[in-house]
């Protein structure tokens, strides 16, 4: 067996590598996904993460009692959160989110140092990441600024909190940056202002036991509780958010779904290629060894013994490749992915996890390989010894229908030879083409993803929202205040709200954007051309329309989360946006729907002082275009890593498949090549003949791969961020790079293989029949 493995080292190595890569990718994503999934579940369980959150402008004790009295409610508590600052010992200031609480039985603090919180306790509890980054310790006295008031608090504890697992303090950050800003918990009595208004109620339901992996009944219980709550609490601007809609939960679910796709599709393709490799390699191996097999059978070895011997080749190789891939995948890419996740999700329970799945998958691949091997070899192996020992002439056929066409007569020897060779070795050819398709489509996806991410940044901040600054206003700011700012900064007023849009079969929270007159908030259609918002209707984003199964021309129902009544309007246009999904309309149309225009953002090209954030209570944030772009670039950088991984994987596939198939083809043609040499064909001419077949296979594979690449890119882009969209049109660049890389790779691989033509010993090669 070892000798056979050595003699067919390239073929077995390629099967090994494909299984290796399959389990490498699978285990890397699986260890991270399962680990994080379990980690989130544990985190949510140990802190009794909220099941429902009610948000409004102000809740009273009566509201809390009303909620607590609902039959499904286990407990509920009041909270409020507001942004302020902490003055650090270095003299610098950092943003801090202040959470004022009364009880802490829902979404509890997870204390890592210091004393636990009891209602009425003085002092402040600071988040672990921020405390670590800013060197804050238990017992420190912190100078704090909130609502224009300075006050001091003593640090009583360092903690984590599950609702801040995915935490961005404001919209200047596209992704969380732990340690750069922080969050803190204080008793409601510590509020430095005149009176504290609670703007949230956290609810724990008695019928929802699981925390992260919810059952269907639990999801239904959340929906029913939401209806009950909305029927009980009659507040203006009430929104009821289920735990499944909470940002940390939702984005973690999204990450897990993306990882699940990555650990399913790619390994699936690699395993498929590996199985094709098993089929081609083992069929040829047993055919070459038919005399040996016949002799073994003649000597008395049973059919089963011989069968098991050959089946064990595929089983052993796939077992070794899969196991090695799983181990290396866990410790390299898995560790890297886990580190990346830790950058975005703060979860003290997050660990990598070795689940049973890689073991099952390894066993499954080996069984499949064994079965493939069995079906590939059983025809020969099940014959009796005398039949096997009788040499079987190769069954060569023509090139099919093309031989009947006028074209055939015009073809030269090389073309005819190659076409017939391709037709006679269809499995080998198909495997080769599939490998090139995978290689080139992944290359297009990788280069395309890079181009789209760079284009999205330009698209969003240069084409759609080119304003130099945005001023975000607090919910208390009235129209006149915002209007004054718009006038002073010659800006455009925009209202951005969350609304629940009813689709055909489902509903989802999306953005409602209402724009006043101006040219700083623009829109483009699905082809990337600028468009005016319709006067007689609204526009829906292409992504939202796709997710909700809505079409242009339909009357769409939407409502604010805190209202019961639906608003209806016809979507008369579709717009495309990289990040803002939902519905948009002009102020005039919105007011025509009997809605009050309440702008909360001003877009301006003038410079706005940053200190408005702290000095003017009506201003929530002032953000420059550069800050937005920096955040976008941070996100792009993390995407670049996946581009590099995709590139590496595609090149590995390309080389392995092309080299494997090339060597297989070359070994089978050695005798023919030697014959051509004997007849006087030069080495260069023979190499060119071989290269022509390679160009045909690579050309076919690349052509299909380039077309498929854009689809692969669409799937990857759609899965990576459900709220992101892009115009799936690439410049010629990614296609050209992918084409040349796949082609050059193929030419190099073939040149390396065909260089052996020179070394073929004509006398040796033509010695015997077998």
């Amino acid at each position: 067996m070892l000798r056979d493995l050595r003699q067919n080292i390239i073929q077995f190595l390629s099967i090994f590598i494909m299984c290796f890569v399959a389990l490498f990718v699978f285990e890397a994503f699986d260890s991270d996904t399962r680990g994080f999934g379990d980690g989130v579940d544990t985190y949510y369980r140990s802190t009794n993460f909220l099941d429902m959150m009610l948000a409004s402008e102000g809740f009273t004790g009566e509201d809390l009692i009303a909620v607590k009295n609902l039959p499904d409610v286990e407990t509920a508590e009041l909270r409020t959160a507001m942004n302020g600052k902490v003055r650090l010992s270095s003299g610098t200031e950092a943003k801090l989110e202040f959470n004022f609480i009364g009880d802490n039985n829902v979404s509890q603090m997870l204390l890592t140092e210091g004393e636990p919180y009891d209602p009425g306790d003085p002092g402040i509890w600071i988040d672990r990441n921020f405390a670590g980054a800013k060197n804050i310790r238990v017992g420190d006295s912190l100078s704090l600024i909130l609502d224009g008031t300075e006050f001091t608090e003593t640090v009583r504890g360092i903690m984590d909190n599950p609702e801040h697992m995915y935490f961005m303090i404001d919209e200047t950050y596209a992704e969380p940056e732990y340690g750069e800003y922080g969050f803190a918990y204080l008793d409601g009595g510590e509020y430095p202002g005149e009176s504290l208004t609670y703007d949230r109620i956290y609810v724990d339901l008695n019928s929802v036991d699981n925390q992260f992996f919810l059952t269907g009944e639990e999801e239904a219980a959340l929906d029913s509780a939401k209806v009950d709550i909305m029927g009980t609490i009659s507040k203006t601007a009430l929104s009821v958010i289920k735990k499944t809609e909470e940002i940390g939960y939702d984005s973690m679910k999204g990450e897990m779904e993306y990882n699940l796709m990555m650990e399913t599709i790619f390994p699936g393709l690699f395993v498929f290629i590996a199985l094709l490799g098993v089929m081609t390699t083992m069929t040829r191996l047993v055919t070459r060894q038919r005399t040996l097999i016949g002799a073994l059978k003649a000597l008395g070895f049973s059919r089963e013994a011989v069968m098991w011997h050959y089946i064990s080749y595929a089983v052993v190789i796939t077992l070794l490749g899969s196991t090695a891939g799983a181990v290396v995948g866990y410790w390299t890419l898995g560790v890297q992915l886990h580190a990346n996740m830790n950058m975005f999700y703060s979860n003290p329970y997050a660990r990598m996890k070795l689940s049973i799945l890689p073991f099952l998958l390894t066993a499954g691949i080996s069984v499949l390989a064994g079965l493939t091997n069995y079906f590939a070899c059983r025809r020969l192996l099940s014959k009796n010894a005398s039949e096997i020992l009788k040499p079987e002439p190769p069954a060569f056929a023509g090139a099919g229908f093309i031989e009947k066409t006028f074209l055939w007569k015009k073809l030269g020897f090389a073309a005819r030879w190659n076409l017939r060779d391709v037709n006679n070795n269809r499995l080998r050819t198909v495997t080769g083409i599939l490998g090139v398709i995978m290689c080139s489509s992944l290359m297009v996806a990788a280069f395309g993803s890079d181009e789209l991410s760079h284009r999205s940044e330009h698209w969003e901040y240069n084409e759609l929202n080119p304003a130099a600054y945005t001023i975000g206003f607090s919910p208390d700011a009235d129209y006149v205040t915002v209007y004054d700012y718009a006038r002073q900064y010659r800006g455009q007023m925009v209202e951005k709200e969350q609304v629940e849009i009813e689709g055909n079969g489902s509903s989802r929270l999306y953005n409602l954007v209402v724009v006043d007159k101006g040219n700083l908030y623009r829109f483009q259609d699905e082809n990337g051309n600028y468009m005016e918002l319709p006067e007689n209707g609204m526009a829906i984003s292409a992504k939202a329309a796709e997710v909700l199964d809505l079409k242009k021309g339909e009357v769409i129902k939407f409502k604010f989360p805190d209202k019961k009544e639906y608003i209806e309007a016809r979507a008369t246009a579709v717009y495309k946006s990289p990040g803002t999904q939902g519905i948009v309309m002009t102020r005039e149309f919105y007011e025509g729907l009997k809605q009050e225009f309440k702008p909360n953002i001003v877009y301006t090209d003038m410079t706005v002082p940053k200190n408005y954030e702290t000095e003017r209570p009506e201003v929530a944030n002032v953000t420059s275009k550069e800050e937005y772009m920096r955040a976008a670039r941070d996100k792009t950088e993390s995407m670049n890593e996946s581009v590099v991984y995709t590139m590496i994987v595609s090149v590995v596939i390309g080389i392995v498949v092309m080299y494997n198939m090339g060597v297989l083809s070359f070994v089978e043609k050695t005798r023919e090549i030697a014959t051509l040499k004997v007849l006087g064909f030069t080495t260069a001419k023979i190499r060119w003949i071989l290269q022509q077949q390679n160009i045909f296979i690579t050309g076919t594979g690349t052509a299909v791969g380039l077309m498929l690449g854009i689809k692969v890119l669409g799937v990857l882009e759609g899965a990576s961020d459900p709220d992101a969209d892009s115009i799936l049109q690439l410049s010629p660049g990614p296609y050209i790079y992918a084409f040349f890389l796949a082609f050059v790779l193929s030419l190099i691989v073939n040149a390396a293989i065909s260089s052996k033509v020179k070394d073929i010993n004509m006398v040796e090669a033509l010695k015997g029949v077998e």
Binding site: F396, A414, V763, L766
Partner: protein, 237 residues
């Protein structure tokens, strides 16, 4: 009989094979002359060195000592490129196991040489010459061993080479088919005036040759000139 000049000359030719530390001397100090138009049979037991002689003559292998001349040109001094041209233009080779290109039909196998720019006779005529015109569109796998060997001969003679080399051409064939093949080979010398060198271990074939070279242990044991060679049809084995 008019004295013809030698087409092929072997001068003190030797061939040593080395595999790791094992050294095997296949030919030792071989001197031989073959005249134009002659049918020469190289006869000897397995391992005697006759196929090695043929391979050196066809430019398939390189001698490790001595010189080989063909038509006055030194083959042993030629590089790979010139040897390739020599094989393409001047030599036709027929093997024991035919070595046809399996993905080409009988006619295409014969026509193969035209791809090299070598002037060849009408490939169909070459097939007619070996009695296989009606099987021109068959692939090798659709032909019997004897038919494949005849296609192989047609391919070898279609380019009208000065030298036809045959290595055990009947080795894989039954008696009747072998006799037919022998006849075609003999005709190449008798009818078409080609120089033919044939390797065989069957001593009966010596009777159809103009010259019989006995090879033993890598040396030429003796050379016999046959004044009245038999017709191939007269041979029985």
């Amino acid at each position: 009989m008019e004295e013809t000049r030698p087409l092929i000359v072997f001068e003190n030719v030797g061939k040593i094979y080395r595999t790791g530390s094992v050294v095997y001397e296949a030919l030792h100090d071989v001197n031989l002359e073959i005249k134009e138009g002659e049918l020469t049979v190289l006869l000897g037991p397995s391992g005697a060195g006759k196929s090695t002689l043929l391979n050196l003559l066809g430019g398939l292998d390189a001698a490790t000592g001595g010189k080989i001349y063909f038509g006055g040109e030194e083959l042993t001094a030629m590089d790979d490129k010139r040897l390739g041209r020599f094989r393409a233009k001047d030599v036709g080779i027929v093997f024991q196991f035919y070595n046809l290109v399996p993905t080409l039909t009988a006619l295409e196998n014969v026509d193969l040489m035209s791809d090299l720019g070598v002037e060849i006779m009408d490939p169909l005529k070459a097939l007619e010459m070996v009695g296989l015109a009606e099987r021109k569109d068959n692939f090798p796998s659709q032909l019997s061993g004897g038919q494949q060997q005849r296609v192989s001969i047609a391919r070898a003679v279609a380019k009208m080479p000065r030298l036809l080399l045959c290595d055990e051409p009947t080795g894989a064939l039954d008696t009747n088919t072998g006799r037919e093949v022998l006849k075609i080979i003999q005709d190449q010398s008798r009818v078409y005036g080609k120089t033919v060198v044939m390797v065989t271990h069957n001593s009966l074939f010596a009777e159809i040759a103009d010259k019989v070279v006995y090879v033993k242990n890598g040396t030429i044991e003796k050379i016999i000139i046959n004044d009245e060679p038999k017709d191939a049809e007269e041979i029985n084995w």
